[in-house]
Symmetry: C2
Subunit: 319 residues, 2 copies
DNA sequence: CTGAAAGCGCTTACAG
DNA sequence: CTGAAAGCGCTTACAG
């Protein structure tokens, strides 16, 4: 490569990396770019990583749980935003431990954890100079400065407020049965609880709604006998199960029990009745995460929490 | 590291890589492992990659299209299978070109493309010694040796055969409107067409069903006037739209029009009526893909096409 | 059975 | 404005 352009390795490196404060003659630059094009040269990232100790990769670790539509959108957005900054987002689904070798393999600049983080692992990564961004706080107290957790809390709040605004004072909460969803559920549920407190209405009556229609029917009846008139479902899937259980017992939404989901999955509009749900503004969350990654390297440009609403209600017929 | 154990770099490398035909004294081995544990030493993958010219990473490139539940499962399974072979699967959503830098960054051993592959890009990767596995054939003719394409073809076949088996002779095909899904749709549709040919029934009447309920209603009426009695939907989402359109016009499934989807998404069982659909056996596809990756390096153990059914019908009420 | 040495392809002080 | 040289941490012939 250097030979083809008739210059030294050094100069090639300067030109290709646009090293500031290095004046390079325009003609030399040109010769180098020509040679690059001619040879189809691509710098070896392995060598660069070895030399600099870090690659330009940001590793996104996803929890091993049912990943929906929304999670994928988050991945896409984060990938897009960070690419503009020259960083390559690479995604990995967690699976317990074996990933240690992966972060060593990639020598990522940062690891964004959308999964539980074990203290030991975190320490090892940080010791290796990798920035660890924990976007998965279990405890709501920790969530204050965390866009993702904050948005989950907000989701619950938005659900409860919509129900209250349409006159409901006794609400239920339909939790999923999958234990891997428990942390997420807790965050959303806290949001619901807080909203209820603030609105001065009863705390939500929580029940696990599995993916069994008959069970959902029973639960719907129970809620009604307890005076519950509306329920926040953990997500749209749980809402579908509940709606199916209600139809089986000739219970109507929102008349007998109003139901509001979360996610606005593509089929939500085709539910019977069409599902009222909460749309998460994933772009805002992604921007928050991207900021956290970038803050380290570009102090001035980025600032605190991202602005913008994190979630809004999509009103259809079920609530 | 070598110093801590009181041996040379060479020996450390031999021990850690279990180099065959290198006899190392048990005591030396032990000293090295002890030092590894004590220092928390992790070999630099960047250096290894630089030296060997390849990392242990397999890059999975996903098309930029609505990725469902099924796609995610494929990613999970492939990750799991390949990890057992010491390979790290890393996933990236395609976005047009900018990924060139990524494969250079990772120096992956193989790239599995679940996205359209441009000839130029492919050539560059292969020139770099990267194995390229193209699991995205546009043309059904190319699909013969490709597990993924083959399974898509099979999906259509299974749909049509189920409909024929329940007495339908005039079937419709509900295609999605998203152009990014066109290639996939074509593969499935070919499967339907072939099954119709083999069964001696009319070719499917294809219509695009968007996510507009009223439009779906109109289309349902059209099909009925044309004598269509059952329809294969591209996937469960399209099926939901169609079912919603039918309910709006008091048309019943399967009486007025039978509907069968694809994917068995979690909410399919809660459709009104519960959706009959096709379950793709993603494990088989993943195994096929994994084989293709491994074939190159471990010739003997793996053989041709994976065995096993690729898709089966989940019978519920809509068809 | 073990080690000294070369070299993978970069980046970056440093010297001109 | 440009280049010679060191060194990042490995692997692997090769020599003992």
């Amino acid at each position: 490569m250097a030979r083809e352009a008739g210059v030294s390795q050094t100069t090639v490196s300067y030109v290709l990396n646009d090293v500031p404060h290095q004046k390079i003659a325009a003609e030399t630059r040109y010769r180098i770019h020509a040679a690059v094009a001619k040879l189809g040269y691509t710098p070896s990232a392995a060598a660069r990583a070895l030399r600099k100790g870090q690659s330009d990769i940001v590793l996104l670790l996803l929890a091993d749980m049912p990943l929906g539509h929304t999670a994928i959108e988050l991945v896409e957005q984060l990938t897009r935003i960070l690419r503009q900054q020259g960083l390559s987002v690479v995604t990995r689904i967690e699976d317990g431990g074996a990933n240690d070798s992966l972060w060593a393999d990639l020598a990522p600049r940062a690891v964004v954890m959308l999964a539980p983080v074990q203290a030991g692992r975190r320490k090892r990564m940080e010791a290796a100079g990798i920035q660890v961004i924990n976007a998965w706080r279990r405890k709501p107290e920790d969530a204050a400065h965390d866009t993702l957790a904050h948005s989950q809390h907000r989701v619950g709040e938005v659900q409860a407020r919509h129900l209250a605004a349409t006159g409901h004072r006794h609400i239920g909460y339909a939790a999923p049965t999958d234990p891997r969803l428990a942390d997420f559920c807790e965050l959303r549920l806290q949001g619901v609880r807080q909203a209820c407190r603030e609105l001065g209405i009863d705390p939500p009556v929580v029940r696990e709604v599995g993916s069994d229609r008959d069970l959902a029917t029973d639960i719907a009846h129970e809620w009604r006998t307890e005076g519950v008139t509306a329920v926040c479902a953990f997500n749209d899937e749980v809402a579908f199960a509940l709606l199916a259980g209600m139809r089986a017992a000739d219970l109507e939404a929102p008349g007998d029990l109003a139901v509001i989901g979360v996610d606005d999955i593509p089929v939500a509009q085709f539910a019977e009745p069409p599902l009222t749900t909460v749309d998460q503004h994933i772009g805002v969350v992604a921007a928050g995460l991207a900021q956290a990654v970038l803050r380290r390297q570009d102090p001035p440009e980025v600032s605190g929490q991202p602005r913008g609403e994190l979630a809004t209600v999509v009103v259809r017929q079920s609530a």
